[in-house]
């Protein structure tokens, strides 16, 4: 059985920085097939390679430092990132470097999709900003849609990213 991992990165004590973790916690409560597993990685950087190891596909959700409206989200694959543009998650543990390492070790899931969400407020607070709170159901629906579309793709035959 192919395994799809949904991995939330972030610090829930830093407001919207924890949005990835919060989304994973919400979805964890729902009824997904056994193919889907949820992980909360927090901010422990390179640690993500250990979660990627046994997966066939992964969706990684993180706050994203990027141009755009707070609350907006985007799905992209690691190879779509132009390093010169410096799209970067708010964690300097370097998600893309960790993915590279996973690949070099021959452990990288066949397909990785990153869901980047632009935060409004990453100051110290143990809840999301009002804007992100309002957007959370919409973000959750988008994420669910992505999980389902990845599950529907037959035999894990994704274009290698």
């Amino acid at each position: 059985m192919a395994k799809l991992g949904v991995i939330g990165i972030g610090n829930t004590l830093k407001g919207d920085d924890g949005v990835g973790v919060m989304l994973v916690n919400r979805l964890e409560e729902e009824d997904f097939s056994d193919e889907v597993e949820f992980h909360e990685v927090g901010t422990s950087g390179l640690n993500i390679i250990h979660y990627l190891k046994d997966l066939d596909k992964a969706v990684i959700i993180d706050a994203l430092r990027s141009e755009g409206e707070p609350g907006n989200s985007t799905f992209f694959r690691p190879n779509e990132v132009d390093n010169s543009i410096k799209i970067r998650s708010t964690h300097d543990a370097n998600l893309l470097e960790a993915i590279d390492l996973s690949e070099t070790l021959g452990e990288r899931p066949e397909d990785i999709v990153i869901m980047g969400i632009i935060p409004e407020d990453i100051s110290l607070r143990d809840e999301l900003s009002p804007l992100l709170k309002e957007k959370l159901p919409e973000l959750e629906e988008k994420l669910k849609g992505k999980i389902n579309s990845l599950l529907e793709e037959e035999g894990g035959g994704f274009p290698s990213s």
Binding site: N11, T12, L13, K14, E40, V41, G42, T43, S44, G45, L46, N47, I49, H50, D92, A93, E97, D100, L101, T104, L105, I122, S123, L124, D126
Partner: protein, 439 residues
């Protein structure tokens, strides 16, 4: 002596957790500016814990840091337990010691293997090591996975442990799981020695820089202290943990949003090297054997040797974890129900908890009212205690490097390596400063 202008300006130093800058300007061999700057969103730790229940604090504080979440949990539980006079069983104490070993291994292996080795190998990051030294890197990764597995087995997760609660554990591992873990730990010695061999082969890459300073850590007459003990300084001797404010003396500097600390001198150092300097005799023989290979003996004043002290500690962590599991199995695990909730008599009081976490001694201090709601909280983290020492080291190392005729790139690399040797976790070091900065 160089008569050039030197301008080292490292914005956002890589391979450390968080955001720190190195600024050095010199002209005609004279230092004009030399600063270790910590620029990170201040963290309002105190305000995070106040008004929260004793049942929540260890979960909240575990989120302060993704690397030291177990250490924060343990220090937090100890503070709560001290405030309410809660005692834990010998079995729970052994399990807590086991999970602290796991976190120390996790963090040190990550630091030595992924963050420091690239410097020794002359690589910019861990990625090229995967091609140039694949077997060595796989060894590091195996050890890292073992420590993660250990954290998960005892705490329920690799980070942000769920099973540690005031008064004990909500769930404990089985004897079968402990036996399996013990076998894996035993089998890891070859990997540990392979990493030691690799570091030894590159030992000449560690700069020979010594600056006398003060070292502070926990100490315990029964063992190499991680979980419990009194505070020991190489300068001022032993004091109770309750004196922590008189020892840490946190203060504010213009160049940093994080607090600095000092005790008997302008600065002191905490972490693996401080622990090793204070408690060397209690290391396991195998760990001492590794220390001897690097001529690492107390009191060592070379901050770069903190990397080696970390390696030595990992060997000790593995060895002592096996001893702990042996003790647990020998005694037979006291069974407890699946979702155990120890009976706690909630009362008002103040409690201070200290633990040795990967980067050094950590203090949590809480005051509770009769309902068990936190009314005041303080936390002194290891990285803040090291900032002043990093600054002092830099002030001595930078002119040395200039006088040796090193060029800007070499100076920059050496200063970066210095900061990385402390393994600073800046993202949790910059917590609330309720003061006005003086211009």
């Amino acid at each position: 002596m160089s008569n050039e202008k030197i301008d080292v300006d490292v914005e956002y130093l890589t391979r450390v957790e968080g955001h720190g800058n190195i600024k050095v300007n010199a002209s005609d061999g004279q230092i004009e500016k030399c600063e270790w700057q910590v620029i990170e969103t201040p963290r309002y730790f105190e305000s995070m814990v106040v008004d929260h229940s004793w049942k929540e604090l260890h979960h909240i504080t575990s989120r302060i840091c993704g690397i030291c979440s177990i250490g924060h949990t343990v220090a937090s539980l100890k503070a709560t337990e001290a405030a309410m006079g809660i005692e834990i069983s010998k079995q729970d104490e052994l399990l807590r010691k086991l999970i602290l070993h796991a976190e120390n291994m996790q963090s040190h292996i990550l630091h030595v293997g992924y963050l420091a080795l690239p410097d020794l190998m002359g690589e910019g990051s861990v990625i090229p090591l995967a091609s140039s030294h694949p077997e060595e890197l796989k060894t590091v990764i195996r050890l890292h996975r073992l420590s993660n597995e250990m954290s998960e087995m005892v705490g329920g997760r690799t980070t942000h442990p769920q099973r540690l609660i005031p008064g004990g554990f909500s769930k404990i591992p089985t004897e079968k799981e402990l036996t399996e873990l013990k076998n894996k730990l035993r089998n890891s010695f070859n990997d540990l020695m392979a990493v030691a061999d690799l570091c030894e082969a590159k030992a000449d890459k560690f700069p020979d820089f010594n600056r006398e300073t003060e070292f502070i850590s926990l100490t315990n007459e029964d063992e190499y202290a991680f979980y419990d003990g009194q505070v020991r300084s190489t300068d001022t001797g032993i004091q109770p943990v309750t004196d922590y404010k008189d020892i840490t003396n946190e203060f504010v500097v213009n160049q940093s949003t994080a607090k600095f600390a000092r005790n008997n001198r302008q600065s002191y150092m905490v972490g693996a090297l401080a622990r090793l300097n204070n408690n060397y005799d209690q290391l396991s023989p195998m760990a001492k054997g590794v220390a001897e290979r690097f001529n690492l003996k107390p009191v060592n004043h070379n901050p770069f040797m903190n990397n080696i002290a970390q390696l030595v500690e990992v060997v000790h962590n593995v060895r002592d974890s096996i001893n702990i599991i042996d003790k647990l199995l020998e005694n037979g695990l006291e069974p407890q129900e699946e979702y155990h909730e120890p009976e706690i008599e909630v009362k008002a009081g103040r409690g201070i908890g200290a633990a040795e976490v990967p980067r050094g001694i950590l203090f949590h201090d809480y005051t509770y009212n009769e309902e068990g709601i936190c009314t005041a909280g303080n936390c002194v983290i290891p990285t803040n205690q090291n900032h002043a020492n990093i600054q002092q080291d830099m002030e001595e190392l930078a002119p040395n490097l200039i006088n040796e005729g090193k060029d800007e790139d070499e100076i920059e690399l050496n200063l970066e390596m210095l900061v990385r040797a402390y393994d600073p976790c800046i993202s949790c070091s910059a917590h609330h400063l309720d003061v006005e900065f003086v211009d």
